[in-house]
């Protein structure tokens, strides 16, 4: 008897709550700017392996973009009420998924920027599609964002695995290193890189003797490094597709085993200037790699880098400049569209061609939302060539925007 009463109470309670909730409904006015403000969300790694190369300083870069936008338009700006909010995704896709949801729903973000780590980026792209809000990815590498898993609300800004392989794989092979031994971390990014590099190397007439996946994360690469000289033919170069702590470990052990002296060179798939800084130039001297932007490449970059340094105390990586550019171009697009409505901003971004401090000859491709721009082949200086802190790179070659990235026709992207 008592139990039945209880059940009835419970059901009644459930009903009332549900009905009342229906009354709530979605709010929001019909103005040009939703919630009377534009909110830029920066979601990235603020304490982990990528916190140096993007992290909190990316937030600073985005704030610089807001500053410049306000200065440029003054009273004509679409709104003066621009907020920058931020969250830490710890490089975990599940955290990224939850945080993206929170940024869009709770913090009313109109766009989420940055998002290193491919798995996390794909999760955020999924949320962007579900919430119909923008995601401009800067620091993740996977071509899936503009390929099989592309969507209408996701843009890819700074670089991707195709661009890295196309630059580094091709040029190192052309320079004479025909026989590659590739080691890659056994997760999405590594597998993606391995595939892209193999294609680029074969296209240039080189060969990949073998490619070994390494456990992730891993701190002992000696098995693979010892294997290298025993392969037949002896590889001319080891291509590592590792990032962060794994890369640091591998390079350290590569130097310990003295492989360079044995004639086996090292080529690094993805490298940020912060990696060079943390291991020291001598560990990488002479290594060729592909860069999306270098702070000391010309006077404009340097001027921007000086401003950045004044605020952060350090020199910017290409990810920082990329975030500045993505934030600035988002605001410019909203200005052109006259609203922060996602569909209109997407339309304003599509096909747009521009130049800013990050992107030379930049264009947002309408077909797959890849932002293409000139990219660079860089070489790590030897210690005696370094004239000041962070002066580590020498730009060897500029790869024009149209050649640097995967052609839109090959992307396989369908909105």
């Amino acid at each position: 008897m008592r139990r039945r009463v209880l059940t009835a109470v419970a059901i009644a309670a459930a009903l009332t709550t549900t009905v009342a909730a229906c009354g709530g409904g979605p709010g929001g006015g019909g103005g040009k700017i939703t919630d009377d403000k534009i909110v830029l969300g920066v979601l990235n790694d603020q304490s982990g392996v990528y916190s140096e190369l993007s992290g909190k300083n990316s937030v600073t870069a985005v704030e610089m973009a807001v500053e410049d936008f306000k200065a440029k338009y003054g009273d004509d700006a679409i709104t003066k009420n621009i907020e920058v909010v931020t969250a830490d995704h710890q490089n975990k896709p599940d955290v990224a998924n939850t945080k993206a949801q929170e940024l869009y729903d709770r913090q009313k973000a109109d766009v989420i920027l940055d998002v290193p780590t491919s798995s996390a980026a794909l999760a955020v792209a999924g949320q962007a599609a579900a919430k119909k809000k923008l995601h401009i990815n800067v620091t993740a590498a996977t071509t899936e964002l503009t390929g099989a898993k592309c969507n209408k609300y996701t843009f890819h800004w700074a670089y991707d695995t195709y661009m890295l392989a196309n630059g580094t794989g091709t040029s190192v092979t052309e320079a004479g290193a025909k026989d590659w031994y590739i080691v890659y971390p056994d997760y999405a990014f590594g597998q993606d890189m391995q595939k892209s590099f193999t294609e680029a190397i074969q296209k240039t007439g080189g060969q990949v003797i073998t490619a070994d996946p390494t456990p992730f994360p891993n701190d002992d690469f000696s098995t693979f490094l010892l294997k290298a000289p025993t392969l037949s033919p002896t590889p001319s170069v080891i291509g590592t597709m590792h990032a962060g702590g794994d890369l640091v470990n591998l390079v350290k052990q590569y130097n310990e085993f003295g492989l360079r002296e044995k004639g086996v060179d090292l080529s690094v798939g993805l490298m940020f200037i912060t990696d060079i800084h943390s291991l020291g130039v001598e560990a990488f001297a002479g290594t060729t790699f592909t860069d999306a932007w270098y702070w000391n490449a010309d006077a404009d970059n340097r001027a921007w880098a000086d401003r950045f340094q004044a605020k952060t105390g350090t020199r910017p990586s290409f990810a920082h400049a990329g975030n500045y550019s993505a934030a600035l171009q988002y605001l410019e697009a909203a200005q052109r569209a006259g609203t922060d409505n996602a569909d209109d901003v997407v339309k304003a971004l599509e096909g747009f061609a521009f130049n800013d401090v990050f992107a030379a000859n930049g264009q947002v491709r309408a077909e797959d939302h890849r932002m293409i721009h000139d990219s660079y082949l860089a070489k790590v200086k030897s210690p005696d060539q370094v004239t000041e802190d962070w002066d580590y790179e020498e730009i060897v070659e500029t790869i024009p925007a149209a050649e640097a990235f995967r052609p839109a026709a090959e992307s396989g992207c369908q909105f």
Binding site: S47, D219, D220, K227, D246, E256, L279
Partner: protein, 284 residues
């Protein structure tokens, strides 16, 4: 051949950690979850001494374990001892909390980015058939000496007799009127010092980062289950053996390289639940 060497080198870390775990377990009946965190603190200690005060590696190798050992003894006095009368699971939980705390403290201070630590020995040793980095050879040598020394001390000296007796027959030892309590804090400290020692040895070889011990400790648990937790000899042997087997798996069946230790553990549990060198009475 090189791969066998490699396996033994990574096995030496497992062995030293398992040894420390076994000593602590033997003396206190406590499984120290924070053992991995102490290993990490050892590596960080060496890193900090070098970068902050320019103290070189060899000094760190002596100083860091001593400091950590004292810290360990303090932890025993202040925390572990309070729970010694209770189910050892409480101390397992306590050390788990301690591991989280220490790991996060270091992470907040230094980030999870790996810190570079240059090797004190850059030469290579020529074995005729192959050459091998001198530092790795040294690590293997030192760890063998340490394990042997601990074993000798425990089997030949009076202190050893007491510790072993307390380890293997705690009630009986107490009944014989030996004040086991007096040895508890020093032995806990000693176990922690061993972990710190392994950490300093690891610093030039492995990435020095706050998470380096967290994953390793689970493998060490499996090693200890395989060797038999009560057995010092078993822990050390299993440590080296697992290092070797993992390296060979890495070479021949890479897909198994991370799981093989757990498969072995399952097999041991089926075949000899007390572990290869454990005694049946050691568990109920």
């Amino acid at each position: 051949m090189q791969h066998i060497f490699n396996g033994l080198v990574s096995g030496s870390f497992l062995a030293m950690l398992a040894l420390g775990l076994a000593v602590i377990f033997g003396m206190l009946g406590v499984v120290n979850f924070a053992h991995g965190a102490f290993y990490m603190l050892g590596a960080f200690g060496a890193y900090l001494l070098l970068t902050e005060w320019g103290v070189n590696y060899w000094v760190a190798l002596a100083a860091v374990p001593v400091a950590l050992g004292l810290f360990g003894a303090l932890v025993e006095r202040v925390l572990i001892r309070r729970l010694s009368a209770l189910d050892p699971l409480y101390n397992f939980l306590l050390t788990f909390g301690l591991a989280l705390l220490l790991q996060d403290l270091v992470r907040r201070e230094y980030g999870v980015q790996s810190q570079p630590y240059t090797s004190p020995l850059t030469a290579t040793v020529d074995f005729g058939l192959f050459t091998y980095p001198a530092y790795q050879v040294m690590v293997l040598g030192i760890s063998l000496v340490v394990c042997l020394a601990v074993w000798l001390v425990l089997s030949k000296t009076r202190l050893g007799v007491i510790v072993r007796a307390a380890t293997e027959r705690p009630e009986l030892t107490r009944a014989l009127g030996i004040d086991v309590g007096r040895y508890v804090a020093p032995m806990f400290g000693f176990g922690v010092a061993l972990a710190g020692f392994a950490g300093v040895l690891a610093a030039p070889m492995r990435a020095v980062n706050p998470l380096m011990g967290g994953d390793l400790i689970i493998t060490v648990f499996a090693v200890v289950v395989i060797g038999g937790l009560g057995s010092i000899f078993g822990s050390v042997t299993a440590g080296f053996a697992i290092g070797l087997i993992t390296a060979l798996a890495n070479l021949y069946v890479p897909t198994l390289s991370q799981t093989i230790v757990f498969i072995l553990m399952a097999a041991v549990l089926l075949w000899r639940p007390a572990g290869l060198f454990g005694r049946e009475e050691a568990f109920t």
